[in-house]
Structures are given as structure tokens and as C-alpha cells.
Symmetry: C2
């Protein structure tokens, strides 16, 4: 039986990749607001050890839903008429509904050990908020979630799940914080934004023991997510196969990284060669159409600058259903690997992606999240290309979450009212022009 | 690693239980409408073999989501402070969202083999319709689902899932059938009923190859569901434990039967003794407050009479969130076992049940369906009783489905607006007075 990994995989030393250091933001935070990341997470961000043991208390929680299934997609293969072997790794079977719980549990554990009794968090569509709420419940911590008003009203079920888990959900902008009150004063009808929700959560940490839980795209988040790829490797071996191609959808980078990094690391150490393809949305094509540059990681620009593939922090993607792929940039590590040619990237349109999602649901009996459907569509494209070349490939793709709360999106696809959201060159040029000044020693590389 | 059973378990011979024969309905069906159940299913309904091999084609589909997890509920145990070992078997991880797919796949296979290319089905809240739609997709059959108008409008996501799976969803009453047109003529604003949806589906089988797929409460459905209990037995053995108490929620009987029958059968053959508790809703207490009598299985009364515990076919349960527990009767086999004292029954109120559901979600990280929450509450009650007696018991309970589409119900619980729906003695006496005349040889027993 496949076991849960006992250590996370840090592929950075094996890959020999160097990450450009973060730079202080030229914008200064309001006084009294500081980011307090537990030292254990900071060490994980910087470690050169090839593996990091998973604490027993985190392993115990992982056992509630891990190992997750790796499934040979026989029915999908038949429907496609492909000669490839398709496998999917499914992360939607936990209460948060996605892979995000893998790192939320680890982060909650370290915050708890660092003395936190209360975590605050900002959330847009609600996936990260749900994951942190679930993790806090596991460690007996309280949780306050600032949820963007537009999502709060459009996705009431996400709020209900978080409250079931014991979290307090506060609609953002709120009158609880100075930044929220200022927004309400200036724009009484404000529907909020993720950066504002983050700012409110960051401000609302005055009570002793209350800390702000940063997010899901840090390098330590990618580290925690490697349980996905490590399990997949063992499961493939058990099935007597090995991966030729690994495919994951790309938002902040933790889903793709969690699946691909263990395969990339093993290949770098002399293991079987593997091609890793990250799939983004044509509505937010940071790898395929962005720049590798220092940029703000949030719209308020209070956090340190990071060097990453970005469409510019002022990039506003068009309306799209895969909310988790809307982020303007992606993880430093994924960006560096793409820059050096170690991974591939592809971008697809919304309707093509939903077409593959419906085919997947019909054949494999699992309703994918719109984000995850990007990887599914990528897998069908890779399989079709291999078939044209007359080769059979083992293709492993990640299905990062379930689509139970995305029925309105599927409805619009089935009704034929869904539109493709592809951004213009002009829109991308406009937001890239808004990048902060680049340090000379980096831009001259 | 736990494997998928290769055969279903027929516990009837081991238990030595005799089922009263079905009797023809005194009401006659409209001409041209007949129930055509494939001979293989009829044989399974009557077989005396202790096990029935699962066809390879069904096993192949089961592998998409089976074996399902048996989880030790450590966190729930801690929250309850119990000395008991609590285990839950989770059936919500497939696209239909519940255990119903276990029998839908088997039935679709046999209908397919019997020459069907199109199945029609009636559905209320949508669980059975979703399961049959998924099963039809697996075997390349078409599927037409008649969905009660009130559910069609209140639960649009269920319709979307079924259409994603390729089914045609028709709102009932419809103008497609004579019985639907008559209803629309008499009551243009009719919101429909399950019996009407079943009648429409039954009528709409004129095209060659089109058959009506009966339902989930037949004895062969219980047989198919025994994969749940068989897996649980093996998983417990792997964990070095065995069940003292087995608990399942009771609607039509297939969920409870699927979990409990393998344990009961093993005990009857000299295996370890086990107490099996079926949990119903106080809003629909057929075992705890009904009669063991011949009754109609549907409101139209066209199908044969069955001897079962019933509240009377005219019983209308009060509004409740666990739609799957609203049926007025329960399976013949479960009824006979209860009548002879082989199983126990308990009934709980809606708010108590939701209280345990929220505790379960918070501790175990799984959102249960309201139906399944009845078993969870039952497990907490059994554990509390054991603690009072100072004994430690191994308690296995079934979580038959997920609650992702039941957020409005959870919302009302969290808001404090949920009411308990407990029926009066008068209401039960009224519907029991409406039972059909009983055959003398049965009532004189």
C-alpha cells in the first residue's frame, strides 16, 4: 500500500537553481503592521537540505485524507482513442476541496508552535480561507477570515463551510480595521478586493497570539505540496509505470510545483527524464506572455518584491471561472525553472478547458474544479501530440480540486453562454509598463 | 492494501430470514406500461447463494472510486472525550456523491446486457438520478431523468451535474407523457412529486431499447451495496480491530443494509457478535413508529405490494433536509430483520443530527450529507452510552454521502433558524389507517 511521505522534497539543491533574493518594497507599511512568519517556515524557505521531515503532528492530520488517489484514466483514454497511458492525481477529496490544505495544515502547525492561538487570513473566492479554517480547527486555533465582499455575496456556500469549521467570516471591507473603514468612507458600495482583504487581515492582529497567515504561494508552500508528487511517484512505481510527462495547472505555483518538483528533482539526480508542463489560462498568461522581473506580490505592495514571471501587479484579468489562476505572477521557484528552460508552459482558452472538464466528468466520474480542468485539457493535448507522433507516453496530471461549488460555471458551458477570455497584447503591455524600477544588476543579466 | 470485493455478499441464507412474498397490486397499470427488470437482477433478488460474483465490467468501474476509505475518527474521539474507537466508512467520494452509484453501476450493466440503450429514471432530490446518469455514461447508454419540478427549481446544481454526465433532464410534470399532460391539465402550477416523476419515466419507454430503471431500494440493490460492509470488514482487520457496533442511516434501506449485512452474515456464521443500529429521522420514523405490513411502495400503487415497516404510503413527512430519509417505508429485508429482533433502530431530531454533523466536519474535515449525519449522531450516542457503562467499543458508522449541495441546510443550522420536524401520533395514525387490506394469512401471524 502506498504510504504518506515522511518528508517533504526540496528539489532546489538537486536542480541547482538559484532564486534571486527578495527586495524590500519601496512602499512602507503603516506603522505597527509587520509580517510575522514563524522562524521554522523562514528556515524552510531558505533550506538547502534535499528533504525536510514532516512533523508527526502534521502527518497525523495528513492521514485524514492522504495518500490521495492516483487513478489510471482508462475511460478517458478510450474516449480520446489515445495510445497514451493517462493518470490523474486527485486532491479534491478533503474538506477544503483542493490541494491547499496540504500547506495550510503545515503552516497552522508552525504558527501554533510559534505561540499563535488565532490566525487571520484574507481570501478571495474562499479556497485558501477554507483551507486555513480547516487547519485551525485541527490544531484548536481560532480563525478569522476576511472575505472579499463580491465573493462573500456570490459564493455563500464557501462562507458556510468556513463557519462550519468554526471560523469567523468577516466581509471585507469591514469597519473592524482602519484600512477597511477608510475604504468604506471613500467607497460605501465597495465590493472589496483580495489585496484589501489581505490588508485587513494583516492589520487585525493586535490581540496577543493573533498572527496573519500569509498565503499559499511561498516557496515553503511549494515544499509542503510535494507530498502530491512524492505519492504519485510511489503510486506509479506500484503500477509498474513511470511518468514521461507531468502536467499541472498554474496559479500561484503551489499546485504545479507540488506535483512536478519531486519528478524534476529525481530526474536531476539521474532518474528518468521527465517533461513537466504547467498550464495557465489564456486570461492570465504570466509564463507564456509575461516578463521575468521584480514585481509586487500584492496590489498594495507592502510585502517584499519578488523576481518572478509576471503580467504586472496592476494586471486585471478578464472575468473567468478559474479564480485560482487569476494571480498576476507565479512562484519564484517555478519562474526561475521556466526561465532556465527546465519546464514548459501552455495556455488554453476557457471553453476548450471546460470541454475537457465535461469529458473528464463524463468518463472518469469526477467533477474537476475549473482550475484543475486546465491540466486535464493539457493532458488531452499532450496525448494527441504523442498519438500524432506514433508514440505512447505515460502522462500524469494533477486534478487539484473538486468542482462542486462551480456548477454555475458548468451551467454556462452547457448552455453555450460561456465566453472565452483572452487578453489583448495592449492590455498586457499596459500592465507591464507599470512594473517597478528593476535593480540594475538583475535586469542586466 | 485493501482490495475491492470480487463478490457481493448475500447474507439472507446465513441469517435464515424469510421474506414475505410480494403481492400483485390491486391497482392496475395503464395498458402498455410494464416493469421490465432484467432477468439477471430478478435472479439476484431471489438467489439463495451466499455470494454473487461481481461481473468484471462492474469491478472495472468500481475501481474508479473503490475501495472507499475507512477512517479512524481520532479527532472526533478527542472532541467527544470517548474511550470508544470510532471508524467511519466514507461513500461520498464519487461523482454521484453517495453510495447509490454502487448499485446504479451494477443495474446499468445488467440493463445494458439485457439490450437497453436508453434508461429512464425518476428522481426527487436528484441523488438517484445522478447515480444512474453516471452509470449510463460509463456503459455508453443514454439516460433521461424525470426530475420533480420543486427539486429542479430548488436544486439547479443537481440538474447541471446530470447534464454534465450526458443525461437529458426533464422537469416533471412534463408534456412528454400522458400522465404528465393530465397533471398539467388539472394543475398547471403543479410542482410535481416523486411518484409522478416515476410514472412519467415508466411511461416514457416506448422507443426500442428504452427501459425504466426501477430504484435503489430493491433487495438486489442491498446486495450490490454490500461492497461497503465487505471492504469495512477487511479494513478493520487490517487495522487489527473488529466491530462491536455498526451504524447506518436508514432511508430506503440500501445504505444501512450495504454496511450492516456483511457483519450480520458473518456473525450468523459464528463470527464475532455485532450490534447493528439503523438510524432514522424523527420526521420519518418507519421502524420506530411504523407498522410491519403490506403496503404500496409508491404513491401511485402500480408496483407490487411489499411487506415492510411502513408509515403508510400516504404518509407525508414534514419538511426536512435529509431528503433521502423521507421514504414512507423501508426495504423488505431490513424490515424482516427488525421484526425478528436482529437489528436495532433509533430516531433522532434534525437539530441534534446537524449538531453532530458540524462537530464531525470540524474535527474530521469531511462535510456529511444530512442523511449520513444521522449515523454520525447515532455513533456519538452509542459512544456516550458505552462511556457511561465504562466499556470501550469499536463503533463503525457509514457516511453515505457528501454535503456539498446541502449548504443551505447547514446555513439554517448555523443561523439558528433550523426547526425540528417531529411528527405527531395523530399524523402517523391517519396514514396507517390508509394501509391496503392485509392478506389474512399474513396478518394472523
Amino acid at each position: 500500500m502506498v504510504s504518506i511521505p515522511q518528508a517533504w522534497c526540496n528539489a532546489i539543491p538537486a536542480l541547482g537553481v538559484t532564486l534571486a533574493p527578495d527586495l524590500p518594497s519601496p512602499r512602507s507599511a503603516p506603522s505597527g503592521i509587520t509580517l510575522q512568519i514563524p522562524p521554522s517556515l523562514v528556515r524552510q524557505e531558505l533550506t538547502r537540505e534535499p528533504s525536510v521531515p514532516i512533523p508527526p503532528a502534521v502527518l497525523e492530520r495528513y492521514r485524514q485524507w492522504r495518500p490521495t488517489p492516483l487513478v489510471r484514466a482508462h475511460q478517458l483514454e478510450s474516449a480520446l482513442g489515445t495510445g497514451c497511458r493517462l493518470y490523474y492525481k486527485y486532491e479534491g477529496g478533503n474538506i477544503s476541496g483542493s490541494h491547499k490544505l496540504n500547506t495550510a495544515v503545515a503552516q497552522a502547525y508552525y504558527y501554533h508552535r510559534a505561540g499563535a492561538t488565532y490566525l487571520t487570513v484574507g481570501t478571495g473566492a474562499g479556497q485558501w480561507g477554507t483551507a486555513v479554517a480547516a487547519a485551525c480547527a485541527m490544531f484548536g486555533m481560532k480563525c478569522r477570515v476576511y472575505m472579499v465582499r463580491s465573493s462573500y455575496e456570490a459564493k455563500p456556500h464557501r462562507r458556510t463551510i468556513m463557519e462550519m469549521l468554526g471560523a469567523t467570516v468577516i466581509v471585507s471591507p469591514s469597519s473592524r480595521t482602519a484600512v477597511g473603514r477608510a475604504e468604506l468612507h471613500d467607497h460605501p458600495d465597495s465590493t472589496g478586493s483580495l489585496s484589501l482583504a489581505l490588508a485587513e487581515a494583516l492589520e487585525d492582529t493586535a490581540e496577543p497570539g493573533t498572527l496573519f497567515c500569509t498565503g499559499s504561494g511561498e516557496t515553503y508552500s511549494l515544499l509542503h505540496q510535494t507530498v502530491i508528487g512524492l505519492e504519485a511517484q510511489e503510486q506509479l512505481a506500484e503500477l509498474g509505470d513511470r511518468a514521461d510527462v507531468v502536467i499541472g495547472s498554474l496559479g500561484g505555483g503551489s499546485n504545479f510545483g507540488g506535483l512536478a518538483l519531486p519528478f524534476l528533482g529525481a530526474a536531476a539526480l539521474g532518474g528518468p527524464a521527465v517533461r513537466c508542463v504547467s498550464v495557465e489560462s489564456m486570461a492570465c498568461p504570466k509564463l507564456t506572455r509575461g516578463h521575468f522581473a521584480y514585481d509586487f506580490t500584492d496590489a498594495s505592495g507592502l510585502a517584499p518584491l519578488q523576481k518572478m514571471y509576471t503580467l504586472g501587479h496592476s494586471f486585471a484579468p478578464p472575468s473567468m471561472h478559474a479564480g485560482g489562476l487569476r494571480y498576476h505572477g507565479t512562484a519564484k521557484l517555478i519562474s526561475a525553472l521556466y526561465d532556465e528552460g527546465s519546464i514548459d508552459a501552455a495556455a488554453y482558452s476557457q471553453r476548450d478547458v471546460f470541454g475537457s472538464a465535461v469529458l473528464f466528468a463524463r468518463t472518469e466520474g469526477t467533477t474537476p474544479a475549473p482550475e484543475s480542468a486546465h491540466a486535464i485539457h493539457g493532458a488531452t493535448m499532450v496525448a494527441a501530440a504523442a498519438d500524432r507522433q506514433g508514440v505512447s507516453r505515460a502522462v500524469v496530471f494533477g486534478v487539484s480540486g473538486h468542482g462542486m461549488f462551480d456548477m454555475a460555471a458548468y451551467r454556462s458551458y452547457l448552455d453555450g453562454t460561456m465566453v472565452d477570455s483572452i487578453v489583448s497584447d495592449e492590455a498586457i503591455a499596459r500592465s507591464l509598463a507599470d512594473l517597478p524600477p528593476q535593480p540594475a544588476e538583475i535586469t542586466s543579466r
